[in-house]
């Protein structure tokens, strides 16, 4: 079997398997093994694509090129480290009496199905299937957000379902309009939603329809990215769901939704003269960045604060892709990678910290470095990395975005700097006393899995200092495709 099929089959089958076998001692290991299998298949696929160039699968229904293979590898990798992290984490939650065996079963099977839907969304060539997979990704995570069944978590899950449902309905309308525009050119052959066909005729798509279509697509998928003003679901879902879910929502789902927008932007750019799509994305990106930065300082819950930080970074990335061009696209892709790795590492550290201290309220978390130096340092280094301190990789990508903005859109620079400054002050001021300071916390029954935190941070550090040439080539190729 080839790597691509394997990559999709493993999470699907193991999701079903984990439902059937239920919660057993070895179930977390099965979850890890499945994620490892998915990761290895994704790695194999990546090597294949890098060596042989783009390919189709299942006729023309799936299409893997240098752009999405990059997201596939990232998704599978973060999925693997999250499954490693969640093993001891979820066992501790069970010992604390927060979760029962049936809920742990639900968690593991839904986690695998969630990975499956994201991988389908990333690799499908059909924009209709992309929509279906995005909606399925919402559905698999709704019950995960409400896993604790507390009033707050139910409220968060309800908000998540309704807001994302409405958002994604807008995206469906956008897709219908896109199909309408495409059918006029490609005819009723059933190929009119295949991206590879659309991109060949993008210059002939009717601009009037494409303008409306792209607005609906951006607002629709933008809701899932967390773009303001429809970002309200995101902090609630991140704060109230279990930490591994926060890590994959923040590190992966937001990326996949943004990927959907990028694919549509390529088509909109070809059809609409005057950079309409880019300007729209720049506007939404800046608004999101500013809104999130100013909300950061008001947060009291640690996961909520880092959720706002995700919104902030998504705004910055959307702005970067909105500027367009080789440099900004390169920076956007780099920043997406850095954000995924760093933010999931932070959520791992935050999860352990909250478990140790028994609270998510930042004022009650103190002296992590005394409780467990590794968790304390993990959180501190992760925070420094996400705030864009050199030598971490986020610095490199933020620096590229800023310098590019100075050169081509100078009006935006003060806004960007202000928002980044406000975010820095807010987050650093809150994390510093949590890491240092006095404490009184207890030991956990299961030793936390710290390795994923430091593996992620090490990669981010390495990419800040040195990006291997094959990765640069890869980024360049993907950036060129985005135009």
């Amino acid at each position: 079997m080839d790597f691509f099929v394997l990559m999709l089959v493993i999470p699907l089958v193991s999701g079903a398997l984990l439902t059937v076998v239920g919660e057993r001692d070895w179930a977390p290991n099965l979850n890890i093994i499945a994620s490892l299998g998915t990761f290895l298949a994704a790695a194999g696929l990546t090597v294949e694509i890098v060596a042989n160039g783009p390919r189709f699968a299942f006729g023309e229904q799936f299409f893997i090129d240098s752009l999405n293979v990059f997201f596939v590898a990232l998704t599978a990798f973060v999925g693997l480290s999250t499954s490693i992290f969640s093993g001891p984490y979820m066992k501790n939650e069970r010992e604390h009496g927060k979760l029962s065996a049936p809920r742990l079963r639900l968690y593991k099977s839904m986690f695998q199905l969630f990975m499956f839907t994201m991988l389908v969304a990333l690799t499908t060539n059909n924009l209709g299937i992309l929509w279906v997979a995005m909606e399925a990704a919402t559905l698999t995570t709704v019950l995960l957000v409400s896993l604790y069944r507390t009033p707050a978590s139910l409220e968060a899950a309800w908000k998540y379902f309704i807001l994302c449902g409405v958002g994604i309905a807008q995206a469906l309308f956008g897709t219908i309009l896109l199909y309408f525009a495409a059918e006029r050119v490609l005819g009723e052959t059933g190929n009119a939603l295949l991206w590879t066909h659309l991109v060949e005729v993008k210059g002939q798509l009717e601009p009037t329809i494409m303008v409306l279509s792209f607005i609906f697509l951006l607002v629709g998928y933008g809701t899932k990215v967390g773009l303001a003003p429809l970002h309200n679901w995101l902090p609630d879902a991140h704060a109230e769901g279990p930490t591994p879910v926060s890590a994959v929502l923040s590190g992966l789902l937001l990326n996949v939704a943004l990927y959907a927008i990028l694919r549509c932007k390529v088509l909109a750019d070809g059809a609409i003269p005057g950079g309409f799509a880019g300007n729209l994305m720049m506007g939404f990106g800046l608004l999101t960045l500013v809104v999130a930065a100013f909300f950061l300082s008001r947060q009291k819950d640690i996961k909520r604060m880092f959720a706002y930080s995700s919104i902030e970074h998504m705004g910055l990335i959307t702005f970067a892709f909105g500027m367009g061009g080789a440099v900004a696209n390169f920076a956007g892709l780099l920043h997406m990678t850095m954000h995924s790795l760093t933010k999931s590492a932070i959520f791992f550290a935050v999860g352990h910290a909250a478990q140790k201290t028994g609270t998510q309220v930042m004022e009650d978390i103190r002296g992590l470095i005394r409780i467990n130096p590794l968790i304390g340092w993990g959180l501190m280094l992760g925070t420094l990395a996400i705030l864009g301190m050199p030598p971490f990789g986020v610095f490199a990508s933020e620096f590229m975005i800023l310098t590019h903005a100075m050169k081509h859109h100078p009006w935006a620079t003060p806004i960007l700097l202000l928002a980044l400054g406000v975010a820095f002050a807010a987050i650093f001021g809150k994390v510093q006393p949590m890491v240092f300071g006095e404490t009184h916390a207890k030991r956990l029954p299961h030793a936390p899995a710290i390795t994923p935190v430091f593996v992620h941070l090490a990669i981010v550090l390495m990419l800040g200092l040195y990006i291997p040439p094959y990765l640069t080539r890869w980024f360049h190729e993907a950036a060129r495709m985005l135009g």
Binding site: Q61, N126, G128, I129, W131, V132, E135, A136, L139, V142, L143, S146, R149, T150, P151, A152, L154, E155, A156, A157, W158, K159, F161, I162, G165, V166, A169, L172, F173, T175, I176, L177, Y179, F180, E183, R184, E188, G190, A192, L193, E206, T208, I209, L212, P235, D236, A239, E240, F295, R298, Q299, R304
Partner: protein
């Protein structure tokens, strides 16, 4: 439009108007069970409109699409919702946030907006169903309004499904429907979504003793 419009196009326009009328009726309806029945009727009108389009154009996949609508939106989903209402003992009165006449006025404004947005696009379409694109967008917006102004969780879901009806009408009117694989995928998502929501309703009720979403307004930033 001119008097030479073929009978099939007139029929489709008629059914589309019925869908719009039902969207307004849903907006005005206070009782949950009647609301679900109205939703089933709307699905039936959508099914008939798709069927007429199928007969007059000979597109085979529109027949499947009509059948899918019939099974899912006229029979299965209303049945699930009825069962849910009975099992959960939802009180029949629905509390609206804004009074109904005001909601209707906002609805009329939304319809005008929808027609203005859709006009330049439907002029580009060659399908016999093109006139209904404005109606489809109006139905989507009215369903959106219903979700905003209602406070019962189950009413919000009916609003969400009604929005899906509007989107299917848009797909039929602009392009004779999406490719079959996509329509099947969407139908699957809607079905799974409603089942998950059913599970979810029980969780909400166990936790809050009510399906009123006013209890769920505690997560705020401060």
């Amino acid at each position: 439009m001119s008097a030479t419009m073929p009978i099939s196009a007139q029929l489709i326009n008629l059914f589309a108007s019925v869908i719009l009328l039902l969207a307004f009726a849903m907006l005005a309806q206070r009782r949950v069970l009647t609301l679900i029945n109205l939703f089933a009727l709307q699905g039936l009108a959508l099914c008939l409109a798709t069927l007429v389009a199928a007969v007059s154009t000979g597109q085979t996949h529109l027949y499947y699409s009509a059948g899918l609508t019939l099974v899912l939106k006229v029979l299965l989903l209303p049945w699930i919702l009825h069962r849910l209402v009975r099992k959960l003992n939802v009180k029949s009165e629905v509390e609206a946030l804004i009074n109904i006449p005001a909601t209707m006025l906002v609805g009329i404004v939304l319809v005008m907006v929808a027609f203005n947005v859709a006009l330049p696009i439907s002029e580009l379409s060659q399908t016999i169903t093109r006139g209904t694109l404005g109606i489809a967008l109006a139905v989507v917006l009215l369903a959106f309004l219903m979700m905003i102004t209602r406070q019962k969780a189950i009413t919000q879901v009916v609003g969400f499904l009604s929005m899906e009806n509007g989107l299917f009408l848009a797909a039929t009117s602009a392009t004779y429907g999406m490719p079959m694989v996509v329509e099947l995928g969407i139908a699957l998502d809607v079905l799974v979504g409603v089942i998950i929501l059913g599970v979810f309703f029980f969780q909400i009720r166990d936790q809050f003793d009510s399906l009123d979403i006013r209890h769920m307004e505690n997560l705020k930033d401060n």
